[in-house]
């Protein structure tokens, strides 16, 4: 690491430790969708009103509602129809996925990279949900924790780019990646805390690491760890082949036997279709 990069790394560490890193605000629509989904007294009409208040979100929901993954063989024409068909849970997931996206971050030159991170996070959330369902564990926690497990990555990338500009340092892609890897987990933790996510989500995201060899101890962390690897295997099989996937320590924590992993992998096409729907 060059002295310039070390100096930037020090500044970044200080920024994170002092709580000075710019943690993105949870978009209002996502916040409201979360509150509605968690409130036992809320109903579909409130969710409809919320979505109608955001034109681009309403359009997004209609696109997804009409995608093959959700409503094959039908043509939904109204938002009410879409909500009735998809249900509160799915709608809140769509609202979250749409609102917490790549657009939240200002990372010039890295838009495609951040979009990839986001797509992987969405795939992780869907896989984590399926794994949680199989383990008789909470699917909402798994979805949220999967969605947010790497939220610190674009946030820290934005901070690196800002600092590099301030300090007039030119970084290579490798150096940026190294810094991002070092600090992303800490920042993910800061984001979910700042967004006041449920305790189990905060715990799972806080314990998550990208290391394939690490044995997660918490059940939810193991779910998102396995979910993230399933997502990588599905999106970029060259980066994580089936053989390595089957030997992940996270599967041991989850007590998933090989035949159970195979059963889960049998859902790949369904997860792919849902991912296409959510990211369309």
């Amino acid at each position: 690491m060059s002295s310039q990069v070390e100096s930037l790394s020090d500044a970044l560490r200080q920024l994170i430790n002092s709580g000075g890193i710019e943690v993105p605000m949870l978009p209002e629509v996502a916040n409201k969708a979360l509150i509605l989904a968690q409130n036992p007294d809320s109903d579909a009409s409130e969710m409809a009103r919320l979505i109608q208040s955001d034109q681009s979100l309403a359009g997004h929901v209609m696109r997804i509602a009409n995608s093959a993954a959700y409503t094959p063989m039908s043509n939904l024409v109204s938002l009410q129809q879409a909500i009735a068909r998809l249900g509160m849970g799915v709608i809140s997931e769509i609202a979250l996925a749409a609102a917490i996206g790549a657009k939240m971050f200002n990372t010039p030159g890295y838009e495609d990279y951040v979009a990839d991170i986001w797509r992987h996070a969405l795939a992780t959330s869907l896989w984590s949900k399926e794994i949680a369902r199989h383990c008789r564990s909470n699917v909402e926690v798994a979805f949220l924790a999967g969605l947010l497990h790497s939220v610190g990555r674009p946030a820290v990338l934005q901070a690196i780019l800002d600092l590099a500009e301030q300090q007039k340092v030119s970084l290579t892609k490798g150096e940026i990646q190294q810094l991002e890897n070092t600090y992303c987990q800490q920042v993910s933790q800061a984001v979910v805390n700042s967004w006041k996510m449920p305790t189990l989500v905060i715990d799972a995201v806080s314990e998550y690491t990208d290391q394939n060899s690490d044995l997660p101890t918490g059940e939810q962390t193991a779910q998102i760890t396995a979910g993230a690897r399933f997502a990588t295997h599905m999106l970029k099989p060259d980066n994580l082949d089936r053989e390595i996937l089957l030997t992940l320590p996270a599967l041991t924590t989850l007590n998933l036997y090989q035949d159970e992993v195979e059963t889960l992998l049998g859902k790949t096409e369904a997860v792919k279709a849902r991912l296409e729907g959510l990211s369309s």
């Binding site: 968690q38 036992p40 068909r85 509160m88 369902r133 564990s137 909470n138 449920p198 090989q258």
Partner: protein, 466 residues
Amino acid sequence: MSSEQFNYDVLVIGSGPAGQKSAIQAAKAGQRVAIIERDSLFGGACVHRGTIPSKTLRENALRVKHMRQNAALADFELGEDTEMHTLINRLDEVLKSHDDYMRKQMDRNDVERIHGRASFVDNHTIKITKVSGDTADVSVKTVIIAAGSYPRNPDNIPIDHEHLFDSDSILSMLYLPSSLTVLGGGVIASEYASIFQALGVKVTMIDRYPTPLGFLDSDMTDTFVHAFENMGGTWMGSQNVEKVYWDGISDVVTECADGTVVRSQKLLCAAGRLANVDGLQLENAGLSLNERGLISVDENLCTDVANIYAAGDVIGPPSLASASMEQGRRAACNALGIEIGTMSQLIPAGIYSIPELSSVGLTEKQAREQYGNVLVGTAQFAEVARGQISGNTEGLLKIVADAEGKKILGVMLVGEGSTEVVHIGHMAMLSNADVDIFVESTFNFPTLAEAYRIAGLEILAQRPGK
């Protein structure tokens, strides 16, 4: 094959209450013992998905109920966003301490713990499959099957563990729902229905039988239903459920045959449990399941194959942790030729609903069927000072005696403390004491135990010739 040629003298499949006790008993008899568990933690469903988690939730439900009852002392409302995690906050500690205790006990007795799945190759050979996929065959002299049970999910109930749960997944809900439909009227259904109702969830219990817990006398179940409805719950008996589905928006819809439709945010299906024998490949050992899907055993808990024993939920009722432990111990003793006394048929049943119910011996209905005329004494908890002091007035103790009013045939209780207090009657019955023991003995004052004296006096007053 001589004993030395086997890898183990005794291999126990399953580490629940029956498995633990059989392994320990066999080890104490000097055998080389291994216990195989497919879950990563020891203890079986009882510890991780059943008894202990639901009782931990129950403790907090009772606290909430008491705080609501004592509104003068604390103006209390449970927050709308209360996480389930908060309500079973001590669960991790309880489970960890139980796991530690069991591991130490196994280690102390030199019982080898194996994490993996078991399947029979033949009656003396077990294939062990690890989570990693690695396999190994071990030879065993004696096998004790104590693999437990899992929830039965009827075909017309599409359990998704998101909106429609079974008893293994119900505690995975993130937040308390506003409303819950409970299908079933057995022990698990009654426990969860009353616990969630005490937490403020609007609960509707639906079952095909007219009363819940039909194996108890109607005065007991009436008290339970009354207490449940007083908390705001709804009991719908004699209802056949035709269709259950998630409406895709916000409700689970339950349609009954008479046209009644119940909508709720979540649903719990508690339709009994099935023996956990999938994957054991019993046929390779020469075993088959009976018509109820259970493993048949004789009075010695031996299966149709001489070196294979079974205990606990895999052999069927009473399917109580307490009975399973004793069955496990006895299975090991019988397999090893250790002399034991006859197993008492007096097995108490405890139902950890709110309020609790408990019974030992015959119910009044059973006693009348068997003995014709019987004498019955009852005591309301409201008549007992301790009941009044603690606000525990919604309870009842009943003693059933023979026609002479002497021999105790059964004891039943409903009300908080029932599962503990029942053992006074249990001990009296085991020692063949007459009803008089309750009248002639001195009980602490104030205690719920005094109810025994009141009920006993009522029987004495009815004795022939009085």
